[in-house]
């Protein structure tokens, strides 16, 4: 369901030298790279025409090699950071090349030092992004009348209940029709959910806000990279046990 865990495994395999997987991986994440680059450049780009996209692709490839699982940053977020910073480098170089010409070589001199500070920068950047992301998420939730305090109150304590609610949230996020209904009416289509998941109406109603929050998070998982990849969601096989 969530790519986060699979992604980590894939990245690990690529690192170990699976070139074929790397090709596939790069190919499948071109849309992501495209999105990230467009967002940074604040304009529409085109494959094969703009250098920025090529640089972003190289950066993404670099991110695979540089990524460390223990950093606490999800891979996609890390990759995006790398892409953005490389694009920044690129723009800076363009401007400087116009002005000074040869300064590029001097920068390469203290490569080691540069790399270390660059990592520190990435880390800082990552936490800043994460914070921003969470705040954005909070704003999004508040538009549905949900606060984190509410979620504390209604997030189910029991694993089985939580799983069935998460299952409901996934179903909701995967169904465009239901998701649209939620977005327009700002209300949960409880009856439909009950039909789909088999979870009792009462349980759904009690965890109403929780389902909304989770469904929003899942449906916008590419926006909320940090949050969504932080969650270890049940695989579709491990469906929530319908509560009796």
């Amino acid at each position: 369901m969530f790519p986060a865990q699979d992604l980590d495994n894939t990245v690990k395999r690529i690192k170990q030298g699976d070139q074929l997987a790397r090709e596939d991986f790069l190919e499948s994440y071109k849309p992501f790279i495209f999105k990230a680059a467009c967002k940074f450049c604040k304009r529409g780009l085109d494959w094969g025409r703009d250098d920025e996209l090529a640089i972003a692709l190289i950066a993404f490839n670099e991110a695979i090699d540089r990524y460390r699982e223990d950093s606490g940053v999800p891979f996609l977020a890390f990759a995006r950071l790398v892409i953005v910073s490389r694009l920044k480098d690129y723009f800076r170089r363009e401007n400087r090349a116009d002005a000074e010409g040869l300064s590029l070589e001097a920068d390469r001199q203290n490569n080691l030092e540069c790399a270390r500070s660059w990592e520190a920068y990435l880390e800082e950047e990552a936490s800043r992004e994460r914070e921003e992301e969470i705040k954005e998420y909070e704003v999004l939730l508040s538009s549905y009348g949900v606060t984190f305090e509410d979620l504390v109150k209604c997030s189910p304590r029991h694993r089985s209940t939580r799983l069935s609610l998460l299952h409901a949230a996934q179903e909701l996020a995967n169904s465009n029709q239901l998701l649209n209904e939620l977005k327009t009416k700002k209300k949960l289509p409880l009856i439909d959910l009950e039909k789909i998941t088999g979870v009792s109406r009462k349980t759904l109603e009690r965890g109403r806000k929780y389902i909304i929050a989770m469904a929003l998070l899942i449906s916008k998982r590419e926006e909320y990279l940090y949050l969504s990849s932080y969650l270890i969601l049940p695989s579709p096989a491990e469906k929530g046990v319908p509560e009796k």
Partner: protein
């Protein structure tokens, strides 16, 4: 249990909300000094058990508070009346309206010692008194050799019935004394709460204070130390006074202005307190076992009682005649017919007759001057007769009555005989010297004869 981690999604003043990888939102208290930043991953302190622990702590402290409060502020209501007992150990019991003992206080060292041995708090008053007197017997405060006087006082609010009937108190004192075979004089005296306060000022028990006061009125010089330091029995001996006589005087002047005040004193007096000279009674009834304590006076009484018994048998007709005479003085009295009927139904209850006799006597009071004397005598006789009946019943219970036991049927005729006897002899002193005994009609007594 492994430590959980969570991502901080919101920071509040002293707690933060985290999202766990399992998708659970939790509010986690922030420890002092550690500052969480949104997006940071923190360890969630284990607090699964803490709520229960806290709950237990709260429950335990509440329990402790309740228990402690219960100790310091007992829920028992304040004492509504106080009963003091002076044997020599003087004790004071606080009694609630429901006759429960709520406080017990030794008024002298002996009293404290006795209270240390017996627990009386929470008991019924009669049980508590029983225990104290029994303990006093066990500890030889009451014994065969000394003059035993048990003086009890009960505080009674003015114009009110005593909270605890005096006769229950009397029975509670009398029972253990009787079982132990000890001869004792039992006095129960109602006092006003003010009296108790005055007594408390002098440091004496209310009973002893009463003795002190009365002896002062009588002109017998008794000091506080003498009263407080010795038992009433020894006081009686050294001062050559009778405490019973002393206390009986209480309130008499106001109650009885008649010339026959002295004669009436006995019957009237019993309306304010209970005076039971058990020493005399005992000598009268169990002569041979207690030979050494026989008093000349007691013997006389016994003889006199025998005479009376004789008189009863000899003069039944006369007593009937007398009985008929009385109602004739009050024409139209309903009791007239009834008395005649009673003559035939001798197994009827004595009380009715006694009451009627008294009624008749009262009405007769207003009649002839020369009859008044007799009436009073009759009155005395009635009362005495009742007490005789009572005593006989008592003796029946004891099973040690060696005299002829007049049955219920006989008692009525006995009463008549007595009346006649009195009339015949005209010796009122004889009547007075008959030991005064417990009366069965006490609940109706007027406790404030001064009113």
């Amino acid at each position: 249990m492994m430590k959980e981690r969570g991502m901080v999604v919101k920071v509040k003043s002293n707690s933060c909300i985290v999202l766990t990888p399992e998708g659970e939102y939790r509010e986690v208290p922030l420890t002092e000094g550690s500052r969480a930043r949104v997006g940071q991953e923190i360890q969630i302190p284990q607090r699964k058990t803490i709520p229960y622990f806290r709950f237990l702590m709260v429950a335990a402290s509440l329990l402790a508070v309740v228990v402690l409060a219960g100790q310091f502020f007992p829920l028992a209501p304040p004492a509504a009346a106080y009963l003091t007992i002076d044997i020599n150990p003087s004790v004071e019991l606080g009694v609630t309206a429901s006759e429960k003992v709520v406080s017990a206080r030794g008024l002298n060292p002996d009293g404290e010692r006795i209270l240390a041995k017996v627990t009386v708090k929470g008991l019924k008053l009669s049980d508590a008194v029983d225990r104290i007197v029994s303990q006093a017997v066990t500890d030889q405060f009451l014994n065969d050799i000394d003059e035993n006087i048990i003086l009890a006082t009960l505080t009674v609010e003015e114009n009110q019935e005593p909270l605890v009937a005096l006769d229950t108190v009397y029975e509670a004192i009398e029972k253990p004394v009787r079982y132990s075979g000890i001869l004792a004089e039992i006095i129960i005296e109602p006092v006003t709460p003010k009296m108790r306060e005055d007594a408390a000022k002098t440091g004496l028990s209310t009973g002893k204070f009463l003795v002190l006061k009365k002896s002062g009125e009588k002109g017998v010089p008794v000091s506080v130390d003498e009263v407080g330091g010795s038992s009433l029995g020894s006081l009686e001996k050294t001062k050559k006074i009778s405490i019973i006589e002393l206390l009986k005087e209480n309130g008499i002047n106001a109650a009885e202005r008649s010339v026959e005040a002295e004669k009436n004193a006995n019957s009237r007096k019993e309306r304010s307190g209970i005076y039971y000279d058990g020493r005399k009674k005992a000598t009268g009834s169990v002569t041979f076992t207690e030979g050494k304590t026989i008093k000349a006076e007691a013997k006389q009484e016994k003889d006199k009682e025998k005479d009376k018994d004789k008189g009863k048998k000899e003069t039944p007709g006369r007593s009937d005649e007398k009985n008929r005479d009385n109602p004739r003085n009050v024409p139209g009295n309903n009791g007239n017919n009834k008395n005649d009927k009673d003559k035939n139904n001798k197994d009827r209850n004595d009380y009715d007759r006694n009451d009627q006799d008294r009624k008749n006597n009262k009405k007769m009071n207003g009649n002839k001057e020369d009859k008044e004397n007799n009436n009073h005598k009759n009155n005395d006789g009635n009362n005495k007769d009742k007490s005789d009946n009572w005593k006989n019943n008592q003796n029946d219970n004891d099973g040690d009555n060696n005299r002829d036991r007049p049955g219920e049927n006989e008692s009525w005729s006995r009463q008549r005989a007595e009346l006649t006897g009195n009339k015949l002899t005209g010796n009122s002193r004889d009547v007075l010297r008959v030991p005064l005994r417990w009366q069965l009609e006490l609940p109706g007594i007027n406790l404030n004869p001064q009113k």
